[in-house]
Symmetry: C2
Subunit: 355 residues, 2 copies
């Protein structure tokens, strides 16, 4: 994709300047931990040491999954549509959080398997859900590329409307199964180790889900040469769109925030398409869904919230926005040692410090 | 203390009603993890299922430590005063965060070893720093009780002024040494396992610090029969005040938020004085300071932020306020299954779920 070649790395000189400033802020160096790292990463993203992040937005991509006919989800397919509608009314977990924090939510239908009346959902439907990936490819290559570009356009549109930080969320009953298969195909990690209980499954259904993921991986592996192959054959329409949204955030130099398992797998797809995207991605919370850690380890990025959440939707992103903003506030507002009137003796000690 | 006998447990019926409401909110049960637990705990604290937490305040107790003469701190004693002043001007890590989030900060001098001009610091000085605990008791029993009551009065005063959530912070060069000794005396855990690098120490100074903590514990152990003995002999004026502030929060039925290591040790002192206090305490972040985990395990409470911070001051509390408020917003604003238009079929599935 030509789009990918236009994504450049974070601004190294801004990163160095930000690190230098963190060293002279009046605190033991490193004592603000990940808040320091976040502020430094933000500098690399925007090119400025001092950042004041404006409006945030969670982009939710919604789509259905044919694989639900294998009995791998705790909720019926109809919940994809009903919760997508509820999200536009601040009634769900993520959207009630977004409303509380004053962040925007935009819900995109890229593949809900139903017709309905809801003007608040942005209609970019590629097709009515994926095919059953346990039996055939999820979609065609052309549909996959169109889904990726639906995500790109969603993120670019948000940026044009003044959004300065973007959370990447989803709604799609069955999508932890597709995400597990995608993750296994990317990393080679076994179905057992990437498959979790999703919304909540009985032991019996969980065993079945692992078997289904195994079957999906076995069926498509011989035909997967790259990320778009994997997304086309074992992915989902919303997962492809989320991947596109990450690419666009990197291109537009806006921070992109990962939510839980599905969001992390989509982020990994984007990073595998273009290494530079990693510089623009923040993790948010350590999801309770098995496989999350496989994805985050492969991304090489660490969460900073530990809330034992496994809801999805983008729920972790909203809380993370607040922490990222706070990290920027510290960088901007804290006094330096000289402004704080702390004497040279201490500065000498600091220079001697081994960590 | 008569004060302690007046602290009663959380409201069990409000907790049960809150748990019942969480079960009918439109999400897989438990999928919002600790956000659910937080909202339930809040119900027990206030007696209401629905909570909307108003003004927050970080109470900072500042005092000096005679044990600094043993060379166990990376910063000179003078930093206690200079940072206390800086905190009143939103220049430090915690206070710049508080300013950003719109939370109040009140700084109490309960034992700074200096005279100075700064009206913004509330003067409740008990004495000019503790004695060197490696050689003699930190203070007298009477001073310890007065320090505890200074903390009680600070928290009660904040509540009278309309504060609805309180963070318990500190400033005191040398206080990780005193806290480590207190923690070891309470739990019996070895000096090696409770002593961290504090603000940041060279390997050599760190070894010295462990030896000092060992010496402190050995010197005072034979004379420590209860928590006030431990605080009197091995504690600090600010640690005693923090302990008092936790007691008062529980008495006033206001949530008290723990910051890092020192704050956790003070919380443990309060809980050991009165078990019921635990019901009113929230942890915030998993501090990087060694020993924090010993204290939080003993408290039986878990942090929900993982920021690798080890600054102290109350810096973790401010971010935690925001997460606790968000948890309450979810409880208040999310739709129930019936409001969300999710059908009975799914509810049946949920009833079958095994976790």
């Amino acid at each position: 994709m030509k789009y990918i070649s236009e994504i450049v790395k974070a601004d190294k000189s801004a990163i160095n300047a930000a690190k230098a400033r963190q060293m002279i802020l009046a605190k033991p160096p490193g004592s603000l931990g990940k808040l320091e790292d976040i502020s430094v990463k933000m500098a690399g993203i925007t090119g400025s040491v001092i950042n004041d992040i404006g409006q945030g937005c969670v982009l939710v991509f919604a789509a259905d999954h044919g694989v639900t006919e294998e009995g791998i989800a705790s909720a019926p397919k109809s919940v994809t549509l009903s919760q997508s509608i509820n999200m536009t009314q601040s009634k769900t977990g993520m959207s009630s959080l977004a409303h509380y924090y004053g962040e925007r939510v935009r819900v995109y239908d890229v593949g809900i398997d139903a017709d309905y009346e809801c003007e608040a959902i942005i209609n970019k439907k590629i097709r009515y859900g994926t095919a059953n990936i346990a039996k055939e490819p999820a979609m065609t290559k052309d549909e996959c590329i169109r889904a990726i570009f639906a995500g790109i356009e969603a993120a670019e549109s948000a940026c044009r409307d003044g959004v300065e930080i973007i959370g990447i969320g989803e709604m799609g009953i069955g999508n932890t199964t597709a995400s597990a298969a995608v993750l296994s195909l990317i990393t080679g990690v076994s179905a057992e180790d990437v498959t979790g209980r999703g919304g909540g499954l009985t032991d019996e259904a969980y065993k079945r889900k692992i078997e289904v993921v195994k079957r999906v991986v076995g069926l498509h592996k011989p035909f997967c040469n790259d990320i778009t192959d994997i997304l086309t054959r074992a992915g989902g329409l919303e997962i492809a769109s989320m991947c596109g949204a990450y690419l666009a955030c990197a291109k537009m130099r806006v921070p992109a925030v990962v939510d839980g398992f599905i969001s992390a797998v989509a982020a990994l797809c984007a990073v595998k398409l273009c290494e530079n995207v990693r510089d623009f991605i923040f993790m948010s919370h350590l999801s309770d869904e098995k496989g999350y850690k496989v994805a985050s380890d492969e991304l090489g990025l660490k969460a900073f919230l530990d809330l034992s959440m496994r809801l999805g939707e983008g729920s972790g992103c909203v809380i993370a926005f607040s922490v990222i903003r706070a990290a920027c506030a510290v960088m901007r507002d804290m006094a330096t040692f000289s402004q704080a009137g702390i004497n040279e003796e201490y500065l000498d000690e600091i220079r001697k410090m081994e960590r």
